[in-house]
Amino acid sequence: MEFLRGLSKDISGCGLSGVIHRKGELIPGEIIIKSICCQEERGNGLGAGFAAYGIYPDLADYYALHVMADHRKALEDVEELLAHRTYITHEEPIPTRRTPGIEDPPLFKRYFVKPKYEGEARELCADTEDEDDYMVSLVMEINTKIDGAYVISSGKNMGAFKGVGFPHQIAEFFRIEEYKAYIWTAHNRFPTNTPGWWGGAHPFTILDWSIVHNGEISSYGTNRRYLEMFGYHCTLLTDTEVVAYLLDLLIRRHRLPVEVACLALAPPFWEEIDRMPEEERELCTAVRAVYGGAMLNGPFAILFAYNGGLVGLNDRVKLRPLVAAEKGDLVYMASEEAAIRAICPDPDRVWAPKAGEPVIVELEPGVIPNQRSYLRGQGKRTEASVCRYPG
């Protein structure tokens, strides 16, 4: 039934891991593989994935479209659309290898593109922020209109690799150990109601936003209908997809500081808000009243990343685990402390973030191309439940 498209969602419980180098130095893929594989127990072999930032330095100014296709025809349709709507500077199959246990994988190809504007729009829009909106609509168009084709990631100098399998299988399949990145996130999935579908694995992405998630978003229906008002369409049958779009909407389009966006996703309780000083209360009340449709309800721990930062966030009553640690310029976040200790046995500091309080780690300014910074507050000084790392 067409009208119910996107109404289904899959439910899952999972393991997460992420790491960032604050000076933008590259971290080899084996590190993240080791960490996520330590949490093998948290998955059931029905989904795993990785997001990597800084992997296409030579093509860093182009949007890297990772496209998954069920069949050749779908790829051809995507290529036809891309030819009309973008300049493709480079395209190639995503390197994979035969992996035991992974049967009948879909096709994967990557395209490095720039929007192709028509007529006057070219002068107005080229090299502006509008390019991002252009790419969002292009991704929505491919996902909703081209049968059997899905854009797995669409940011610059980053990419997502995901599929059905255990983390070590997916890592082997996509040759993750051959990449180096300044931010890595990884996911091990335990879906309870899986379509056994590659598109349903994490991370979910839009532009350079990527998200891995543990838990179930009980407010999915509300979030999905809220996003539809702003032109986002959920096509990947998994609740986590909404988080990627919410981040794009709140932070990139509405220009909310990342701290305030996290406040909208996991706000304090009214009881706490009522006890805040007036201006603080006004802000929190407004955020809850205006962004009620964006609030994520239900148990969750998420890690999200962008070209410039890694953020960990828990639901407001902390029903899913999240641990953070630092060692020198490296900051780690994972579902279990053991996953961090597997790759960093002796961290300088380990801590458990509070419910609803984001751990935000941005790269030092100017260390990567096209670096984005969404951290516009001094953090911690607000008494709302937002706090910035480092404290």
Binding site: E41, R275, K318, E336, R341, A352, K354, A355
Partner: protein, 247 residues
């Protein structure tokens, strides 16, 4: 002489199988090294054995256990002491969320901070009175649904100087047992209907008894701990929801 096991890269199922086999053989003392993330260590073990663990044990350490003494040199993850019956867990670091869930006997001593929902639904029956002592700070919902037993929160050895000693919804839905807190908590932190009370002499004696053992475990000075007054939180009724229904 303790039996030493290097647990590096050993799956929890193999580790527990090994432990049980050794216990069967009569071994009573174990030293586990390189533990990292193995779940369910000593789960359901009923013998009075002693385990010293180096590393970060995984979820549900000592779940359902009836008797063992576990000493962890490191932090524990979520679900430590889940529904434990007897025995003792000593953590020389921090503990995660849901520590001591539905614990019905034994003791858990944590040197530093604990996560959310610690001591949730602890219960006491006849001579079984579970005890949790926390040297650091606790997250929200400490002692939620508590039906019996004792939680002692010191707030002294915390890694979070910026956080309050306990989170919100402290003791929410509590209908048995006692929570002792060193220092003060604001009434807004407490669950509905709860109030902080002053300690009686019996409370003082009880605290001293439990805290001396805690001090021995971590080599601490009892008098230093007792310098600051404690408050106590108790349920205001054993039937908080008697008037809930309409028939």
């Amino acid at each position: 002489m303790a039996t030493e096991i290097d647990a590096k890269d050993i799956h929890y199922r193999d580790l527990n199988r090994l432990l049980r086999a050794k216990i069967e053989e009569g071994e009573r003392e174990f030293l586990l090294r390189n533990i990292n993330g193995q779940r369910y260590i000593a789960a359901g073990v009923s013998e009075k054995v002693r385990l010293e663990i180096y590393g970060t044990p995984g979820l549900d350490l000592g779940a359902f256990m009836r008797g063992p003494e576990i000493i962890v040199h490191g932090n524990t993850q979520d679900g430590t002491g889940n529904t434990m019956d007897e025995g003792k867990i000593v953590v020389h670091g921090m503990a995660g969320d849901v520590l001591g869930y539905a614990m019905r006997g034994g003791k858990i001593h944590v040197y530093s901070d604990v996560g959310y929902r610690v001591g949730i639904h602890m219960k006491a029956y006849m001579d079984k009175v579970p005890v949790i002592v926390i040297g650091g700070k606790a997250g929200d919902f400490l002692g939620e649904y508590m039906a019996g037993g004792i939680i002692i929160l010191l707030g002294m050895f915390s890694r979070y100087p910026e956080r309050p000693i306990a989170g919100i919804y402290l003791g929410t839905g509590m209908h048995g047992g006692t929570i002792y807190v060193r220092g003060q908590v604001s009434e807004t932190q407490l669950g509905l209907g709860l109030k902080p009370h002053k300690l009686t002499e019996e409370d003082e004696a009880l605290l001293r008894k439990h805290l001396s053992e805690y001090c021995e475990d971590f080599n601490l000075d009892l008098e230093e701990i007792m310098k600051e007054p404690f408050i106590k939180i108790e349920p205001y009724t054993h039937r908080p929801y008697g008037k809930l229904y309409a028939y």
